[in-house]
């Protein structure tokens, strides 16, 4: 088959791809499964269905989902403003979007924690009002919004740039209100990109550790996320249990992303 391709290089590049995918992705993943096989089936089930493990999983998935959902709204608005309007320092703002990618997430966690603590810049005003954010699940959502936000912006931006203003004009001239134009014309075109951004932000949120340990109180069963629990198990030298948890986290993330992919494909069905 490769001999039919007029441009050479298929065999070489495929070989390269497979080699590096194996070394960097498949092998470590296989090692996780392998290591967790040290446990018997009963031990495995017991480990992952332990109330502490279940609570951590629930917290991980709920905070990551909520944060990714918030990022859809925030990311859409920011991408819209960056694409559609001209304003001073636009390029600077555009460059700042990527900051969460570059910043060590632990720094973000520390900053958020200190801002919302009882005597932090923001905390000193809202804690007396009864709004506790630092060390609660709300703080976890907040740092996950921070770390996941660029994914949505960067996924949506190019698509938004490609949408002709013709479409909006056509919609308006056919009698649609701005809101109808958004829902009926723009959103269906943006949806695949938004889904991609959502999936990336979600995946990022599921695995986030560095920032969460600083903003969360990490109380088992309350504010402990799955990655923190895995690290705790490692520190207890229970490697097999840690990999069992990692495996469940991995498989459920994989299933979730697969589901999102199917949805995305479905929403692109009109593209011939």
């Amino acid at each position: 088959m490769s001999s039919r391709v007029p441009l050479p290089g298929f065999a070489l590049s495929l070989g390269y791809t497979l080699t590096f995918m194996s070394l960097i992705v498949f092998l470590p993943l296989a090692a996780i499964a392998w290591k967790s096989a040290d446990l018997s089936w009963e031990q495995f089930v017991q480990t992952v269905s332990h109330p502490r493990a279940l609570a951590a999983m629930r917290l991980t998935f709920s905070t990551a989902l909520i944060a990714a959902a918030i990022n859809i709204v925030l990311g859409l608005i920011v991408a819209w403003v960056l694409v559609r309007y001209e304003f001073p320092f636009k390029r600077w703002v555009d460059a700042l979007i990527d900051l969460p990618f570059a910043l060590p997430t632990a720094v973000a966690g520390l900053v958020y924690a200190s801002l919302y603590m009882k005597d932090g810049w923001i905390g000193r005003f809202i804690v007396p009002m009864g709004i506790e954010i630092a060390y609660t699940p709300a703080a976890i959502v907040m740092v996950l919004v921070f770390t996941g936000f660029p994914f949505v912006v960067r996924a949506v931006q190019p698509v938004l740039e490609e949408i002709d203003t013709d479409l909006e004009e056509a919609s308006a001239i056919l009698g649609a209100t701005r809101w109808q134009t958004f829902w009926m014309v723009l959103w269906p075109n943006l949806r695949p990109a938004v889904v991609t951004g959502f999936a990336l932000a979600l995946a990022r949120g599921l695995g986030e550790y560095g920032s969460v340990i600083f903003v969360s109180s990490n109380l088992p069963g309350k504010t402990e996320v799955a990655p923190t629990l895995i690290v705790a198990r490692i520190e207890e030298n229970k490697f097999a249990e840690a990999t069992a948890l990692a495996l469940v986290l991995l498989l459920s993330s994989f299933a979730l992303l697969g589901l999102i992919n199917v949805w995305e494909k479905w929403s692109r069905r009109h593209e011939a």
């Binding site: 002709d164 479409l167 004009e169 056919l174 009698g175 009926m184 269906p188």
Partner: protein, 350 residues
């Protein structure tokens, strides 16, 4: 519904796209806005549609002033140059869009869309997506979508611009027939004089944000108001010369590049079909030339000729029959003599 535009001006930064433009489109008329790119024709169309707001002046549909009416409420049909079809919707939903946003009942929507599909002869393709249609079909869908909610006027921006020659011809005829059926006041923008002549009742020739001439196609073609219109509405030869007793006298060729400068005095404009080929030197007023290239163009033969020194050229159009009576070979020396020619007052503006 008649359309009146009065003293409309529009600038983009320092560029004056429209400069106190006024036109009158009678009810049921099909008008072409014709001009080169940058002449303001599309801007004028967009001002009429409400997609652009005029800096000054006003727009009226019949007696109602709509200058300040938002585009959603103007009830105009607009066909975009690149169709602007909603690619995530089927043909059916594209056409139904204007009805859906106005919350028509579902059965009425179906009835209306069926009518339009019949009108554009795309029955059976209603579940296709725009990407599965040819250019001409997309154009017709865009037209049906614009017509769906029974607009008061129909505006088309370069409706044939993106189509290949054959489809273009068909669509031209089809659009003309459609207009004769529904009698909707329509304005379309084009840079192609053939499109304008083939379809419209009236042609508005524009240049640099101003209107140069308004009239029926034949009228504008036969009696161009100035050198620009003459040049823009078809191929034209420009020679040094003058009129004597209404007859053109050619005295020489113009150097290359001068031909499009409309402010040159002492020039005669002659259309290719108004030039004759002579094999012997006629009385004064003719110029010697050498046959350079022959090419058939429908029922005529176009003969490209060069001046003896070779730096200027002109073009003669002969009927096929006339040509066959006395065929020409490339390189033959002949004389060109005008049967008819026009001179215009030089322009001093700009």
């Amino acid at each position: 519904m008649s359309i009146t535009v009065q003293n409309v001006s529009k600038s983009f930064g320092s560029f004056k796209a429209l400069d106190r433009v006024s036109i009158e489109v009678p009810s049921g008329c099909l008008v072409a806005l014709l001009g080169p790119s940058g002449s303001g024709k599309t801007t004028l169309l967009r001002v009429i549609a409400g997609l652009e707001s005029a800096d000054e002046g006003m727009v009226r549909y019949r007696e109602e002033e709509v200058t300040e009416t938002p585009v959603q409420h103007r009830q105009v049909g607009f066909v975009f140059q690149h169709y602007a079809l909603f690619r995530h919707m089927t043909v059916f939903e594209n056409i139904a869009f204007g009805l859906r946003v106005r919350r028509w009942a579902n059965d009425k929507v179906h009835q209306r869309v069926r009518e339009l599909l019949h009108l554009i002869r795309l029955e059976g393709l209603d579940q296709r997506y725009p990407s599965q249609l040819s250019g001409g079909q997309r154009q017709r869908v865009a037209l049906a979508r614009a017509l769906a909610s029974e607009p008061r006027v129909l505006l088309l921006d370069e409706p044939f611009g993106a189509l290949d020659a054959k489809v273009r011809l068909e669509l031209r005829q089809w659009l003309r027939r459609l207009h004769d059926q529904i009698h909707l006041t329509s304005i379309f923008v084009t840079h192609d004089q053939e499109d304008a002549f083939a379809v419209s009742d009236k042609v508005v020739v524009m240049r640099q944000g101003k209107i140069e001439q308004v009239g029926a196609p034949v009228e504008v073609f036969e009696h161009p108001a100035n050198a620009f219109v003459m040049d823009f509405l078809g191929h034209v030869n420009v020679f040094k010369g003058h009129l004597r007793d209404g007859r053109p006298v050619l005295t020489g060729y113009l150097p290359h590049g001068v031909a499009n400068n409309f402010s040159t005095p002492g020039v005669v404009f002659v259309r290719p079909h108004e030039l004759e080929i002579r094999h012997e030197q006629p009385e004064e007023g003719a110029l010697p030339a050498k046959v350079d290239h022959l090419h058939p163009s429908g029922s005529a033969i176009r003969i490209h000729l060069r001046s003896p020194c070779g730096e200027s050229s002109c073009c003669v159009e002969l009927g096929v029959d006339a040509y066959q009576n006395r065929p020409l070979a490339v390189g033959t020396s002949v004389w060109v003599a005008p049967r008819r020619g026009r001179v215009f007052e030089p322009e001093y503006s700009i």
